[in-house]
Subunit: 279 residues, 2 copies
């Protein structure tokens, strides 16, 4: 249980209107750290298998009960490992109980609506475990870095996000948000690896290099976004993610703690089925 207590050391302090100027910094979190490692990659992989089976069982209960909704939001710089995390952590979970929603750059139709429109329609239903691979936070980060959102508009958007997430939570949705935190050096290595392998060119877009040039602006936008939208009902966690195995184990532990906390039980047996013989 010691580990579970530690997860809270990676929780972004909750937004507090009165303390807007509180110094929260991503620098407090070392992307290379492995606080949830079990000592070796093999031990981490073994633990991840264990977590996978537990998550599978919890997800079945969630699905059987059809009461709660669970939403995992994954954010992070390019190559931070959003896709890899989903694959590794949920490998054992029944695909029938999982819905993965990737958010790309908004289409013209999406842009013709408010920024939460396309997100709301993808919110999890009762009994569903939904993963947002990128999310409404892109619509906060990208326009900020591109200079299309000034400080007031940024805070207004954060306010709308808090209200939206509070409404989801109030309606029975458990929300967990993870920022996969990699170092600039690690991103260089991962981008270079994609460039050096022609079979991976399809994963690569020249705009990735443009975004990398704005690394500091993105980090600063992330800091402000996390500080303004980490709440009791939709907390943000910073996941040290330079090590892929560590990243997977830590996200797995977090999900496990979250689902465990819901005290999910199978629905009671149906009395009407007692002794029924199928003809």
């Amino acid at each position: 249980m010691a580990k579970q207590a530690d997860l809270d050391d990676f929780l972004v302090p909750y937004f507090d209107e009165g303390k807007k100027k509180d110094p929260f910094s991503l620098d407090h979190f070392d992307p290379r750290a492995k606080p949830f490692s079990n000592g070796s990659k093999d031990a981490d992989r073994a633990r991840l298998s264990e977590i996978g089976l537990l998550l599978d069982n919890l997800q079945e209960r969630l699905h059987a009960q059809r009461k709660r909704r669970v939403l995992l939001v994954l954010q992070g710089m390019d190559t931070s490992g959003k896709d890899g995390t989903i694959r590794a952590v949920f490998h054992e979970v029944d695909p029938l109980g999982l819905r993965i929603v990737p958010f790309k750059a908004p289409t013209p139709v999406e842009l013709a609506h408010d920024f939460l429109w396309r997100v709301h329609s993808q919110a999890p239903a009762a009994g569903e475990l939904t993963i947002f691979n990128r999310s409404h936070y892109e619509d906060l980060l990208v326009p900020t870095v591109h200079g299309e959102l000034d400080a007031d508009a940024f805070q207004k958007r954060c306010c709308h996000i808090r209200q939206f997430e509070e409404m989801l939570a109030y309606s029975g949705t458990t929300i967990v948000k993870c920022m996969l935190h990699i170092s600039k050096d690690e991103q260089r290595a991962r981008l270079q690896a994609r460039i050096d392998d022609p079979l991976k060119h399809w994963k690569f877009d020249v705009s990735d290099l443009e975004a990398r040039k704005q690394w500091d602006a993105y980090q600063s936008a992330y800091r402000d976004a996390l500080a303004a939208t980490s709440t009791e009902y939709a907390p943000w966690y910073v996941i040290p993610a330079d090590s892929k195995t560590h990243r997977n184990v830590m996200v797995g532990e977090l999900l496990l703690r979250t689902l465990d906390g819901l005290k999910l039980e199978y629905p009671p047996a149906k009395e009407s089925l007692k002794g029924v013989k199928v003809e």
Copy 2:
């Protein structure tokens, strides 16, 4: 390659306007047969793991290429194993490349539209592998058994389905349709097992017993539906499914042959990336 040839023995003869009266019968297919078994359950499981890895690679190419679309339609009586097939066959496939669409009884909004409306909106996009867990065929089978669709209306709906599927195929969608074929005895055993295990009551609805009473009507509706909608561009296969491991291997072999046939390649390397060094 001998096996692959055999798959065609389970292909429902293509619809032919001129030969409407052709005797096609589900009785030709023994639900207990295991024509694709490798000799033992263990050998079947080993083959399925192999298939899983191959499908994973093929799906990655499909995704990388973003040209073709693939649609697998799964139909079958209650307990025939649609959920189990999806889980077993696609266990190794990256969940990011897979979209599973369950179709339940239509909602009032869905019923307010034509029967293909809700289906069309879920059709796969370029690079996607989509699985329909039940499908537009429910809207053919259920109303027929309930006496709400007469022979003419039934044939009209089949015609609309053929035209719809032809349009999808013409637009780059590869369609494969599987009917998971179980025996009435096997269904009895599976329903009874659900009743006898209180933890499985949530999977059970009394209406399942009502549908079972109409077993013969459903079999006959299936026969007519398959006969009228198996086409070169959207063929139906009958999968002997009393044995779960056999069912999984056979659906896996079929998908493998289908994806293999698409000659999926990674997109060519981008010349512009040659020698690029990330700063």
